[in-house]
């Protein structure tokens, strides 16, 4: 009895692992096919521009407002701690580095996943459920090239731009709270920031992070949409999975990238 119990559990675990490995393989082949068939999306760039509008421009408000608040909170919390050590002039450095290196790409990525990623999954899933993708195939048009690829590239291009705007807005929010409200010296705030933030080590690394997050989130979003069972329940589950999986992917990838980028000691 007990042996059978253990065996049943092991079998369940095994089939779960096999299922996810298979899905990852399927998703990887999907990505490879998508990249190879991106000719249409790049040649007729208007298709991709339209998706940049949907994924990027329409996400602007949530990104800018969130960035502003995150920067304001950072300034409040940072000032509180820094002034204990008499280092409140370094507030600008703290705000800028936190945003550019970490919070900009990560929080913008999470917001992007829930705003644009879920929309991409739902749209592709519904197009599948209402046979629009089959109709396209019957018209001898490859739906991956015509529908999925432009959405993928639109998302990949939008994400770094949104992260940069998030950081910029955050720094402005930090300035408003730190300098305007609390009264930190404006000259110290900006000049220390200018001296401490390095273009390559900080800003470029932050942008690289956001590019990686953009690829991960959009890849997950288009795959989940394309792979969704063509029913109302299937699409809703796929949309949830997009948000959950891409949030976890962002946090996991952020750890890996941070470990690779900022532990070499070259920027200390």
């Amino acid at each position: 009895m007990r042996v059978a119990d253990v065996r049943a559990r092991l079998e369940r675990l095994g089939s779960g692992v096999t299922f996810h490995v298979l899905r990852l393989g399927f998703a990887s082949r999907f990505l490879a096919y998508l990249v190879v068939h991106s000719g249409t999306a790049l040649k007729r760039f208007r298709l991709t521009t339209a998706e940049i509008y949907f994924a990027g421009v329409l996400s602007l408000i949530i990104i800018l407002v969130s960035g502003m608040f995150v920067g304001m909170v950072l300034a409040l919390q940072g000032y509180e701690t820094l002034q204990r050590f008499g280092a409140s002039e370094s507030l600008g450095v703290l705000v800028a580095l936190s945003l550019v290196r970490e919070l900009g790409p990560v929080v913008a990525g999470l917001l992007f996943a829930s705003r644009a990623g879920s929309a991409i999954t739902a749209e592709i899933g519904l197009m599948k459920a209402t046979e629009q993708l089959s109709a396209m195939e019957m018209m001898a048009v490859d739906p991956i090239a015509r529908v999925v690829a432009p959405r993928f590239w639109g998302g990949v291009i939008s994400m770094p731009l949104l992260a940069v705007l998030f950081s910029a807005m955050g720094i402005f929010g930090g300035y408003v709270v730190g300098v305007q409200l609390i009264g930190v010296d404006a000259g110290a705030f900006w000049s220390q920031m200018q001296a401490a933030v390095d273009l390559r080590n900080d800003i470029l690394n932050g942008v690289i992070k956001s590019v990686v997050f953009g690829i991960a989130v959009t890849w997950i979003a288009v795959f989940e949409g394309y792979d969704a069972p063509p029913t109302a329940e299937g699409v809703s589950r796929a949309t949830t999975r997009t948000v959950v999986t891409s949030s976890l992917a962002i946090l996991f990838l952020d750890f890996i990238l941070t470990a690779l980028m900022f532990t070499g000691g070259n920027n200390q």
């Binding site: 209402t130 046979e131 629009q132 195939e137 019957m138 018209m139 001898a140 048009v141 015509r146």
Partner: protein, 273 residues
């Protein structure tokens, strides 16, 4: 197998079998021909395999045995490019139209033309307007698919699927959920478009009475096999019990009312154990 035209049939299906799983065939040993220029109905109950047959004809599924030759080529042996080349000569109307919801009616009809033919804008516009005129919806060109009724959506989809002047038009349940007027319009359009384009049409449907009025020839399917065939008047006179039950829409006949179930008294726990 039947029908007069001397020309080679546009669709030839020989000893075709298909199953998603090896143990459960959905289509068994199907033989049928579809003559050029005709309107042919494939009828049967839901789940009898007729939509699967349509998917084999359009090359979306590969036969497990036998072959389906469409326009002279075996669909199961074509690669993606060959399949796409073949599909450019085919049009397909989906059950609910499957219009692209992010495009206007005009853009929906223009879609296949834009994708496959590099036409100057003026010519494209003329073609789209002609196609919409043929289905009586030129005035609706600017509307979004969500603003259309079910019947109108299907007419737009019909204009779209005939945009490239196909040789073969496939209809998947074209009459489902239509009011009598829209139904009459669709029936008329199927015949008119077929004859004016010199095309061939295949209608897969379970609306037998309605479809018998428009088709030239009928194949009846049950449980994955072709069980009867003939011209509509022959079908109406048929003595085959299944066909009789189907044509009359009767609940009595070879198709049981009950889904297979255990004994009733066992389910009600009345039986003595």
């Amino acid at each position: 197998m039947q029908q007069s035209p001397a020309a080679q049939p546009i669709v030839e299906i020989r000893k075709l079998s298909f199953g998603y799983e090896r143990s459960r065939p959905v289509l068994r040993d199907i033989n049928l021909d579809i003559a050029r220029g005709s309107v042919v109905g494939i009828m049967g109950q839901s789940g009898c395999g007729k939509t699967t047959l349509l998917r084999v004809i359009m090359g979306a599924l590969r036969p497990s045995a036998g072959e389906a030759r469409v326009l002279g080529r075996a669909t199961g042996k074509l690669d993606a490019e060959g399949l796409y080349a073949m599909r450019r000569k085919m049009g397909m109307l989906f059950q609910f139209g499957a219009l692209f919801t992010d495009m206007s009616v005009y853009e929906n009809v223009a879609f296949p033309l834009r994708e496959h033919a590099a036409l100057p804008d003026e010519l494209l516009n003329d073609l789209v307007m002609m196609k919409l005129q043929a289905v009586g919806l030129r005035g609706a060109a600017h509307l979004a698919p969500t603003e259309l009724s079910g019947g109108m959506a299907r007419r737009v989809a019909l204009a779209r699927s005939t945009a490239l002047d196909p040789q073969l038009i496939l209809y998947d349940e074209p009459f489902t959920g239509l009011d009598p007027i829209s139904f009459g319009v669709i029936v008329r359009l199927i015949r008119e478009l077929n004859d004016s384009l010199g095309a061939t049409s295949v209608i897969v449907t379970h609306d037998v009475q309605e479809a018998l009025g428009v088709v030239d020839y009928v194949y009846f399917m049950a449980a994955g096999r072709v069980i009867a065939q003939g011209r509509p008047d022959e079908i109406r006179r048929s003595h085959e019990p299944f066909v009789r039950q189907f044509v009359n829409g009767s609940s009595e006949g070879p198709v049981p009312f009950h889904y297979p179930a255990p004994q009733y008294d066992v389910d009600l726990e009345l039986a003595t154990h």
